[in-house]
């Protein structure tokens, strides 16, 4: 186990920062856990591969085309399948549908690629530089873009959500859709904008990850559960902390991998975070509130009269 191992894990986890941000945006907006959303990354990555490697488009056009297609697909999916659940506040039914949608996407992609892993040939980024301590690895363009997403995208998104008029409209719709409508906010437009943004972020994550590590039908399946774990544990309204948490989780996973005899625990980190998050939100917090209420009452009763 070394610093290089930890830094390598942190770097790899930064690839999921855009997906976490997108997921949190959509989760807060819709009031459910859109487990299907990270699969927009899978679709976008495979579309980028198709455009660049099969159709012969140039690199920039392929990436932009795949990014837009990922976003549009996300909006279509939301409008067609999930908008009703959001309006009726049905997080469970939406989650089940999300699981089914993920399974369909994963299997369709698997069937079309015969289950084999693919790699970009013409679109492979040429820029690379050997980086010494603390990484001891070759730094490539997708690595830099992911780091940029962590450094720029997360704060920018946080700012726009919390300190702009559009962000205010987003928060109003997320908080109470009907009340927001009554106050003249166009909830449908906010819906489209948020889901397009969120699925584009997931698409960006998928494309970057595929550029660096190759394409597999399951490339966003396991990360999706890690993203859910972070969103549940931290809360979808805390964008900056969520982005940091997913990176930290990647570091912990890699640390586990580095400890002899504990390599298998690497796969359990995300699930443990999810369990802790669920238990903290729904078991410990209500208990704490009840205890605080009892203590508050006792203190109130102990107060001298007059």
């Amino acid at each position: 186990m070394s610093v290089e191992t930890l830094v390598g894990g942190l770097l790899r986890a930064t690839y999921f920062v855009p997906a976490v941000l997108g997921f949190c945006l959509a989760a807060r907006h819709g009031g459910y856990l859109p487990l299907w959303l990270p699969q927009c990354g899978t679709i976008a990555a495979y579309l980028a591969y198709y455009f660049a490697e099969r159709s012969g488009w140039n690199g920039a056009c392929s990436l932009v085309g795949a990014l837009i297609a990922g976003g549009v697909l996300g909006v279509a999916c939301h409008r067609l399948l999930f908008a009703g659940h959001v309006a009726r506040r049905e997080p469970y039914a939406a989650l089940l549908r999300g699981v089914a949608v993920s399974l369909v996407i994963e299997n369709v992609v698997g069937l079309m690629s015969s289950g084999y892993a693919l790699a970009f040939e013409t679109l492979r980024p040429t820029w690379q530089v050997v980086c010494g301590w603390p990484l001891n690895d070759t730094l490539r363009l997708p690595d830099l873009v992911s780091l940029g997403a962590l450094a720029v995208l997360a704060p920018a998104l946080w700012l726009s959500v919390n300190h702009t008029r559009l962000g205010l409209a987003y928060r109003a719709v997320a908080s109470d859709r009907d009340l927001a409508r009554e106050h003249g906010i166009n909830a449908d437009r906010i819906d489209t904008l948020v889901i397009f943004g969120a699925s584009s972020l997931c698409a960006c994550s998928g494309i970057l990850y595929a550029l660096r590590y190759g394409l597999t039908p399951q490339m966003m399946t396991t990360p999706a559960l890690k993203i859910v774990a972070v969103a549940v544990a931290v809360g979808p309204d805390r964008l900056l902390i969520s982005a940091t948490a997913v990176v930290m989780m990647g570091g912990i996973e890699r640390l586990c991998q580095g400890i002899p005899g504990a390599a298998g625990l690497e796969h359990g980190v995300g699930y443990t975070v999810l369990i802790i998050g669920v238990m903290a939100n729904y078991v410990l917090r209500p208990l704490w509130r009840r205890w605080a209420l009892v203590m508050g009452k006792e203190r109130f009763n102990e107060r001298p009269v007059g």
């Binding site: 459910y32 856990l33 399948l81 009703g84 659940h85 506040r89 049905e90 997080p91 469970y92 039914a93 939406a94 989650l95 089940l96 549908r97 699981v99 089914a100 949608v101 399974l103 369909v104 299997n107 369709v108 698997g110 069937l111 015969s114 289950g115 399951q218 399946t221 559960l225 859910v228 774990a229 549940v232 005899g261 504990a262 390599a263 298998g264 625990l265 690497e266 796969h267 359990g268 980190v269 995300g270 699930y271 443990t272 999810l274 369990i275 669920v278 238990m279 939100n281 729904y282 078991v283 209500p286």
Partner: protein, 279 residues
Amino acid sequence: MNAQWADIGVRTLLDSSLVLAQVLILNRLGIPFAAITLFAGLAAYGVATALHFGPLLFILAVALSVLLVVVFTALVRALPQDSYLLLTLAMLGVGGALVSASATLGGQLGMSSTSSVLRAQEPGPFLWCAVPLFLLAFGLIWLLERSQFGLAVEVARMARQEKQAISLIPLWPITALVFFIASGLAFSSGAFQALYTGRVDPNVFRIENAIPLLVATLAGGRSPWRASAIALTFFIFPDLFSLLVGYQRNAMAQVREIIWSVAIIILAEKQLAGARIVR
């Protein structure tokens, strides 16, 4: 050829028993539980360790299953349905991680579970175990439709949807009993699967295996006939098609999952498993 059919029969019946066990919890009781393979995995490792180190570890696996049933039952009221579903999947994931980290249990490679009594990969004797287990699972769901306990389970399911009614119904004992029955079925299925394959590995706890099972369960509904028919069709489809048409089994499994997932996407509109949200 006969051995091949028997092999398909054993695997299909054991997997279908798992689906029927999950139907008891998810569709009859209305609890969003997706980790029935957790009990099957525990049983598989229980059998394997018992064969290697003695029966005490099998008892430990049983005790662990009982503890999990108690935990899952206790958490039903506290958690919203979506979080409960994710929690069960997360428990499965943690189980897999713990098993793959343990050198005693063979790590990621797993360990042998061959027995001298029931020889692995010989489907004949296993059919005598798989058929009664499947019929037992079927019979239990059938009984729930026709017994007073089934009525109690139905009332418990409906009561869970109305916050005011929860305090009027003895939810805990009903939930615990159904959980115990379902986990017992899953445990037996897992034990037979371990003995039949002759090897267990952390893949038994994989979420990727639990999700198709969840899809089959959701599609199965509450009727014992429909659930059994769908479970049997679901698991026999890849083998049957690859045997008859010659396609790859994996590709057929993918086609199967696409078909049933699309069915779930369509069915979700009709409030799957009678699930309304009580927060």
